[in-house]
């Protein structure tokens, strides 16, 4: 239950082509996160799967059945919305049992199910309240409860934590993760927050410009981004991208600084290195050096912005407290095993 297959799906709103040919399969019990910048089509893709928008072309199958032209109600999916979307005139109990009521379950059955779900989500004290009397976190918990009560084959989450404050977001994230392990149901989760994506997902699909740029396990995206977009989107602070060229002795930056003596097949044009894969070192070991223009000390880590002559600004993340202050010279060494190269078309070059 909960196998979802999307084949060559396109979606246009009028003359705006939003989803430009998307294919993927989600297996039973998998937690998939759609991530991408706003306007990339991730929420639209979710609404297409939900059946809230008709698709322009392509097919969607759930458990082997073609549901492309089925109404949302007939797809056996439940959805949690960013704005909670609770019925304002109904109590929490009736909100959670609304779908069951429409499905024709008796009051006794409905309330029994709701009581079970309420216990899991610790909602019992709130069951008789109206949504207006709940906090944001409680409302979203009720919305999740409403989804669970329906016992759908898969859950769809549309940026469910975006309206919550930072602390609540972290605890709700952990709860959703636990819930998924407990329910073992397929979940598709849309977010623009890459921390949510990295922590929750079995598999992340990075959307941009209406297509999937890359999909894979969170660490796979981190370690082997397939193109410049994914490289800079995943990871915080962003990966440094520096222009580079092939030379006789390997690859060098455009000012002639050698980066590696390995030969990279293809024609490397962009060199990528994550801030956490740059080390401070002695002057003689350095790849590049520059003056620190900004130092942010977070306690565990420090972020340094180093202005390298002829190259530009380079972000560096060093563990521990303040080692260098603003205005000092930083000597930087790249981790040879953590380098990324991309060609002119911004695609990854394997080493």
């Amino acid at each position: 239950m909960g196998k979802i297959k999307v084949s060559n799906v396109h979606k246009s709103f009028g003359s705006v082509h939003v989803i430009k040919g998307v294919d993927f399969e989600i297996s039973e019990g998998e937690f998939v996160v759609f991530v991408g910048p706003s306007g990339c089509g991730k929420s639209t893709m979710l609404r297409l799967i939900a059946g809230l928008e008709p698709i322009s072309s392509g097919t969607i199958e759930i458990d082997g059945e073609d549901v492309t032209h089925l109404e949302a109600a007939d797809r056996d999916l439940a959805m949690v919305f960013q704005s909670y979307a609770l019925y304002p005139h109904l109590s929490v109990r009736d909100n959670m049992s609304f779908g069951l009521k429409i499905a024709g379950k008796s009051k006794k059955q409905r309330y029994a199910i709701v009581d079970d779900v309420a216990e899991v989500l610790q909602l019992q004290p709130l069951l008789d309240r109206k949504p207006a009397e709940l906090s944001g976190g409680q409302r979203q918990r009720v919305a999740i409860g409403r989804a669970i009560a329906r016992e759908p084959s898969a859950f769809l989450f549309d940026e469910p934590l975006s309206n919550l404050d930072a602390a609540l977001r972290v605890s709700m994230r952990a709860e959703i993760s636990q819930l998924q392990r407990r329910l073992q149901k397929t979940m598709i989760y849309v977010t623009h927050d890459q921390v949510e994506a990295m922590t929750l997902a079995d598999r992340i699909m990075v959307f941009s410009d209406g297509i999937i740029q890359q999909q894979g396990a969170p660490l796979e995206l981190y370690d082997r981004p397939q193109n410049l977009f994914v490289a800079t989107f995943i990871g915080s602070p962003n990966m440094n991208i520096l222009p580079c060229i092939s030379s006789k002795k390997g690859v060098e930056l455009k000012n002639g600084t050698p980066i590696t003596d390995k030969n990279i097949a293809g024609d490397p044009a962009h060199f990528g290195i994550r801030p956490e894969h740059i080390k401070l070192c002695a002057k003689k070991d350095a790849n590049i050096s520059g003056k620190v223009t900004l130092a942010e000390h977070l306690g565990v880590d420090s972020f340094l912005l180093v202005d390298v002559p002829e190259i530009g600004a380079v972000n560096v993340r060093v563990s521990g407290g303040a080692q260098l202050g603003e205005g000092e010279i930083a000597h930087l060494k790249f981790d040879q095993k953590r380098m990324h190269f991309f060609d002119k078309k911004e695609n990854r070059l394997e080493q």
Partner: protein
């Protein structure tokens, strides 16, 4: 908080003055005067003498006043109910129009911009004994079998088409618009053939309905007032529709999405999302409607001799009628008593509505 100095206070009062003056003169003073006159025998010319409750007892004993009371209350309830429901349905219709929403809104709003006097004159003409309304109803009655066959054929074809399609595809709706178009067209052609071929009886009765000039009472309201109600609804619905439209546009879309995911069909969504979300607007529409209809005056006044007095008299008209009785001397005392009754009645009905009917806020 800092107290205002006298200069600031003076400019404050100056800004409030226009409103305070009009409130004082046209509202508070008018009420006090009316209340005082209702206990006197004032007739515009002689000095008023205090007569106690005499005016109120004559009101209760006056058959015309009882008619007016009955007419006003039934008119208010019927028109408010009907116009609220119709305005809501019309707003949903206009709101769901995919194209030309603005044009639809404008067209439906037209009746509201006409003056009620002009509208009443047009309706007077439509409501003639041999007028358009009689003709329409007459046709309907005479062609009842043809019309019935049209509907039966349309429904049968629609059901057949949907049933056939459902064997092949899932998710075909009962009111699929393309099938509906086919069904209606076929039914229309069949109805014409049935009419031409004389397959069902067609009657040729000349119906003469007195829409206005009658003393007949239908249910608890004179037929004349039913006709006036029709006209009143026609002119007020568009304005109320605009209020509902504004309300509809503020209903969050995600609520409809959530309801769709919960399996709610159009009717579930209407009763569980649209209606509850529109509660504050509905309250405003009902309250405005009750106040407006209880004070109904202009349309029955313009009817004039076209209808008998007791069939068209409302409380507001009764007040006017006693202030300026045709051929008699003004009875300001009685008129004031009835005006006061109307005021108290309005407050009472609005209060009862709010207490037991539609609430101001969603709870």
């Amino acid at each position: 908080m800092k107290r205002f100095n006298s200069n600031q206070a003076f400019s404050g009062w100056m800004f409030l003055a226009p409103f305070l003056v009009s409130l004082g003169v046209f509202f508070l003073w008018a009420i006090l005067r009316t209340a005082w006159f209702s206990f006197t025998d004032y007739n515009l010319f002689a000095e008023p003498n205090f007569v106690g409750l005499e005016n109120f007892t004559s009101l209760v004993l006056d058959e015309l006043f009882i008619f007016a009371l009955r007419n006003s209350i039934s008119f208010a309830l019927i028109v408010t109910g009907a116009q609220t429901i119709l305005a809501l349905l019309l707003a949903i219709l206009v709101n769901s129009a995919a194209r030309a929403k603005g044009v639809a809104r404008t067209i439906f709003y037209f009746p509201s911009i006409m003056s009620s006097a002009a509208m009443t004159l047009i309706f007077l003409w439509l409501f003639q004994r041999q007028g358009l309304m009689s003709g329409m109803v007459g046709n309907f009655v005479n062609l009842r079998w043809v019309i019935l066959s049209f509907f039966v054929i349309a429904i049968v074809i629609q059901l057949a088409l949907v049933a056939m399609a459902r064997r092949k595809y899932i998710g075909v709706k009962l009111f699929d618009p393309y099938f509906l178009l086919i069904s209606v067209l076929v039914a229309l052609i069949s109805a014409v053939i049935i009419r031409m071929g004389g397959f069902v009886p067609v009657y040729d009765e000349k119906l003469l309905i007195s829409w206005l000039n009658t003393r007949e009472v239908f249910l608890f309201m004179p037929r004349t007032l039913w006709s006036v109600a029709l006209m009143n609804i026609f002119t007020t619905v568009p304005t109320l529709m605009l209020l509902f439209l504004a309300g509809l546009q503020s209903v969050p879309i995600s609520l409809y999405d959530a309801a769709k995911m919960d399996g709610a069909n159009v009717f579930h969504r209407f009763f569980n999302v649209t209606l509850p979300s529109l509660t504050p607007v509905t309250f405003a529409v009902v309250t405005l409607g009750l106040i407006g209809t209880l004070q109904m005056f202009d349309q029955v006044a313009i009817l004039g001799a076209a209808a008998p007095l007791e069939s068209r008299v409302t409380l507001a008209f009764y007040t006017y009628y006693n202030t300026f009785p045709p051929g008699g001397s003004p009875n300001i005392g009685l008129a004031s008593a009835s005006a006061l009754t109307l005021g108290v009645l309005t407050v009472l009905i609005v209060f009862l509505q709010r207490r037991f009917g539609i609430k101001e806020k969603l709870e």
